[in-house]
């Protein structure tokens, strides 16, 4: 067929389809005019007159979210079914034109009709905006449209494709529309169920959902084409055999495309997961970890039992920052999980609490801020009595009761702190100790330690570092602080929370690892000496905070990192580094005896009196328990 003949044919087919869809387009535009009028009359009758500005604001939503999808269903359903019903399809198919061409023109023109209705209705919304003196589609409106809001485009395409599919073998457009609507909702519900309930990866991001909906719509259109191609006159016993076959092929193809994804990434398993955050229960019998897949996109919280009895998911996806309560029964965490398991709009996140056994998951507060640095920021801390939770979201400090009542928010941006991390609570539970982010926030590059009153939000500065000097954040302490050990410019300082007085310990070296015992009576720290082209050495010292006596515990090679005291107080684990690379940790007994732990691991805490909890060096993606007496190493994760 010559190019000219092809163009003539397509133009003729398009003309016919347009003439057949024209009544629907006119109906759609008429509805678009009627809807605002009905809304105005209805609201006026209900005694709530609707002003033009409000009407102009809501019309685009009504048109895009309701009118367009529904009339696209009608257009798709009418594309073929009407011609099967009135018998004209037999005439059309007996003409010398390929079925592919006939089908393609039908589908394109039906979708085009939907677009014309959309354009017409949006023009009406724009006119209402003009009449109201407002812009119906301001940049701000479009810019604030949530990403998931754009899912209406693939969802409408799915509605359309499903209707076209049913239109290929049902003889009534109304039946095809109803079937298309029902089947689309079932497909969407299936996707939501698959992604949000089964925690299939990759799954919950709107982009992935859009892709899969597009895929389903595409397959349904292909199934429709297959039926149109092979379905003879699209009715009768032949179709009764073909339709189940085409449906099965569609489902099969969808499975073929999605199953490899699921198999490749699948449900997140311990062997495919990476740990990005962790906290342990006070007794060390459980580790609560944030795990992600390799792309670190969708975090979730798992519980690892230190006795090796198992690993269990605690929360759904898009949850992170788990912190255990002082009694070890609750986990407070952040969630970016919204409706149907989809992510919330950036930067909103929710502070939630859940029991360790997975029950009583409840909302505590909502934070409307999130930055990349929040991933690593110490953000959640339980009060020493475990009844309140403090959380920080960049520049907002939020304190909420664990029971779920109303909380209190302090805007740090308006204070000298500007933004920061939580160091913990004061021992009496009246204040939250916050460390500002230093150079990232203060104009002069200094950082600040301050106490924020949990009841009033009033900020009480405790210590401000010299210009361009950062405060090194010590470990957090569940029992609350009386004196906070901080490292500033290579010196170890103890800041009294009650008075704000600062005591500087003598030291001329560069590296300190202060940690105050749970009882609050003992400070362990390292006095490290860097030596050129040598590992250097660290003297581990113990200070009695009551009487001020200070003694050397042991000297180990390398620069000391975290120092963890055993529950009995009789031994310590010291993590060590040479040139910032970890070397095997050592345990130190009370009498100064040292013993190297297995290479490739660093200590993260104690479980019971004898077992050291370890994380693998580097990515920290493995956890193990080491029996300090027998030397037996038992893997906990994966």
């Amino acid at each position: 067929m010559s190019r000219h003949a092809t163009v003539t044919l397509i133009r003729a087919l398009a003309w016919k389809e347009w003439r057949e869809q024209r009544a629907l387009v006119v109906t759609g535009v008429a509805l678009a005019i009627l809807i605002p009028l009905l809304l105005m009359v209805g609201e006026a009758a209900a005694g709530r007159p609707l002003d033009m500005a409000t009407l102009a604001g809501i019309l685009p939503g009504i048109y895009i979210l309701m009118l367009w999808p529904l009339l696209s269903v009608a257009a798709g359903a009418a594309a073929i079914a009407n011609e099967i019903q009135d018998g004209t399809l037999g005439y059309l198919l007996s003409r010398p034109a390929s079925r592919l061409r006939v089908w393609a023109v039908k589908v394109v023109m039906a979708f085009f009709s939907g677009l014309v209705i959309l354009a017409g209705s949006l023009a009406i919304a724009w006119l209402f905006g003009l009449l109201a003196g407002t812009a119906a589609f301001s940049e701000a409106t479009l810019g604030s449209t949530p990403l998931s809001g754009f899912l209406i485009i693939p969802a409408t395409l799915l509605l359309f494709a499903t209707s076209v599919f049913f239109s290929t073998f049902l003889t009534r457009a109304m039946t095809a529309a109803a079937a298309g609507l029902a089947a689309s909702l079932l497909i969407l519900a299936g996707f939501f169920l698959l992604w949000s309930r089964l925690e299939i990866y990759p799954r919950l991001e709107p982009e992935w959902m859009a892709l899969e909906i597009f895929l389903a719509a595409g397959l349904l259109l292909l199934a429709s084409l297959y039926l149109f191609w092979r379905g003879e006159l699209l009715r009768g016993s032949g179709m009764r055999r073909l339709v189940p076959m085409a449906s099965a092929m569609t489902v099969g193809l969808l499975g073929l495309v999605t199953v490899p994804l699921v198999l490749a990434h699948g449900r997140l398993t311990p062997s495919s997961a990476e740990i990005i955050q962790m906290d342990s229960s006070p007794s060390g019998d459980a580790l609560v970890v944030t795990v992600t897949a390799k792309d670190r996109a969708i975090p979730r919280i798992w519980l690892v039992h230190s006795d090796g009895s198992g690993i269990e998911p605690v929360t759904g996806s898009l949850t992170f920052g788990p912190t255990m309560s002082p009694d070890g029964r609750w986990i407070a965490y952040f969630s970016r999980r919204g409706a149907f398991g989809l992510s919330r709009e950036f930067p909103e996140r929710e502070l939630r609490a859940i029991r360790v056994d997975g029950s009583d998951d409840h909302h505590l507060a909502t934070l409307a801020s999130y930055t990349e640095s929040d991933r690593t920021r110490a953000s959640i801390a339980f009060s020493p009595d475990g009844t309140r939770v403090a959380a920080i979201g960049t520049d907002k400090l939020l304190i909420a009761p664990l029971s779920g009542g109303a909380g209190q928010t302090t805007n740090l941006a308006q204070t000298p702190l500007q933004q920061g991390s939580i160091a913990g609570w004061s021992a009496d539970g009246t204040e939250v100790i916050v460390l500002s982010d230093g150079g990232r926030s203060a104009k002069d590059g200094s950082s600040m330690l301050a106490a924020v009153d949990a009841a009033t939000g009033r900020i009480r500065p405790l210590y401000r570092s010299p210009e361009k000097t950062l405060i090194w954040l010590p470990h957090r302490r569940r029992a609350g602080w009386t004196r906070v050990p901080i490292v500033v410019n290579g010196s170890l300082l103890l800041v009294d929370v009650a008075t704000g007085n600062t005591e500087t310990l003598d030291g001329k070296t560069a590296y300190w690892s202060p940690r105050i015992s749970d009882e609050g009576d003992e400070l362990v720290y390292a006095l490290s000496h860097r030596v050129a082209r040598a590992p250097g050495e660290s003297e581990i010292r113990l200070r009695n905070l009551a009487d001020g006596t200070d003694r050397a515990l042991a000297t180990v090679s390398g620069m000391a990192g975290d120092i963890m005291r055993s529950p009995s107080g009789g031994s310590w684990i010291v993590n060590r580094y040479v040139d910032a690379k970890p070397i095997p940790s050592v345990s130190i007994s009370h009498d100064g005896q040292t013993k190297e732990l297995p290479p490739g691991w660093v200590g993260i805490g104690w479980y019971g009196r004898e077992q050291v909890l370890l994380a693998s060096v580097g990515d920290g993606s493995s956890l193990a328990a080491l029996n300090a007496t027998s030397g037996e190493l038992r893997r906990l994760f994966p």
């Binding site: 009135d86 004209t88 005439y91 007996s94 003879e232 006159l233 016993s237 055999r241």
Partner: protein
């Protein structure tokens, strides 16, 4: 060797377990008017729709003008004018619109011929199809079937439901146009008198199987009925080959033969018949005898 316009070889069509056409082989000579006879459900429309690739054969091969009906269906349809039994046209189109729309499909559409036929058949060009009588709609269909100057005209009982005057006008216009250019007409109808008037060759399909295929002349010459009267009871067998049907009572028998030979009456008399009468059959009677004979 005479060229074939349509060749059907071992064509079978099944819908599930139901066989509609069984192992049909047929060739239609180019330039002929070929009539396909059969009762409702005999497989005529199925065969015609398969030629147009509206249906696909379960097995077998169908060709029109050397083009395979399945794999080269567009080439086939470019060369075939087709009128279905119950045509359904877009009711909202005017006569002019539907003719123009139809023209877009054909490479050899003859606008002048379409114009001439529209005028000749006195069709109201600005009227919508739904406003036309059935006869008028059939005439529009005829214009659309003839204007592409088809080499083969395939008609699936297109005159059913038309009054005799329109039917005659319709057939004459159609055949005159196609035959004038040496085209082939392949048509099915249940109006046997029409077929008898125009067909060169006929085939009779019964329950999906080909029963007869011959020129109309041969068929009418070969298919006769012999009435033989016997003095006593009618014998159990007769010295006649190719018996299509036997109807007997106590002293008389009616034998329908498909290959009549003038020696047959003498043979029956020699075998004891008192008198023998040769009865000529119309095409309709031949058709009925064929169908009934098949049943008996």
């Amino acid at each position: 060797m005479q060229r074939s316009a349509i060749v059907i070889e071992h064509f079978t069509k099944r819908y599930g377990a139901r066989e509609v056409v069984h192992d049909l082989s047929l060739d239609v000579p180019a330039g002929s008017i070929f009539g396909l006879l059969g009762q409702n459900g005999a497989g005529k429309s199925t065969t015609i729709k398969t030629l147009l690739n509206l249906l696909q054969p379960t097995s077998g091969r169908l060709e029109v003008l050397g083009f395979d009906c399945s794999s080269q269906s567009i080439a086939v349809r470019q060369r075939v004018g087709y009128l279905p039994e119950e045509p359904a046209y877009y009711s909202w189109m005017t006569v002019d619109e539907i003719v123009s729309f139809n023209a877009a499909f054909y490479e050899k559409w003859d606008t002048a011929l379409a114009e001439r036929l529209l005028a000749q058949l006195e069709l109201p060009r600005d009227r919508r199809m739904r406003q036309l009588s059935r006869g008028m709609q059939a005439k529009v269909g005829l214009v659309m079937a003839l204007a592409p100057r088809p080499e083969v005209l395939v008609l699936d009982d297109p005159t059913s439901g038309l009054d005799p005057v329109v039917r005659r006008e319709f057939l004459e216009a159609m055949i005159a146009n196609v035959q004038a250019e040496g085209g082939t007409v392949f048509f099915s109808t249940h109006m046997l008198n029409e077929m008898e008037r125009v067909a060169d060759e006929v085939a009779i399909l019964h329950e999906g199987r080909l029963r007869v295929r011959a020129s109309l002349e041969q068929l009418k010459a070969g298919t006769r009925k012999l009435r033989a009267v016997y003095p006593e009871r009618v014998p159990d067998s007769f010295p006649i080959p190719d018996l299509l049907r036997v109807e007997r009572n106590s002293h008389q028998v009616l034998l329908t033969v498909t290959a009549f030979d003038p020696a047959m009456p003498s043979a029956l008399r020699d075998a004891g018949a008192e008198s023998v009468e040769v009865i000529d059959l119309s095409l309709e009677e031949i058709f009925v005898e064929t169908v009934k004979g098949d049943r008996s």
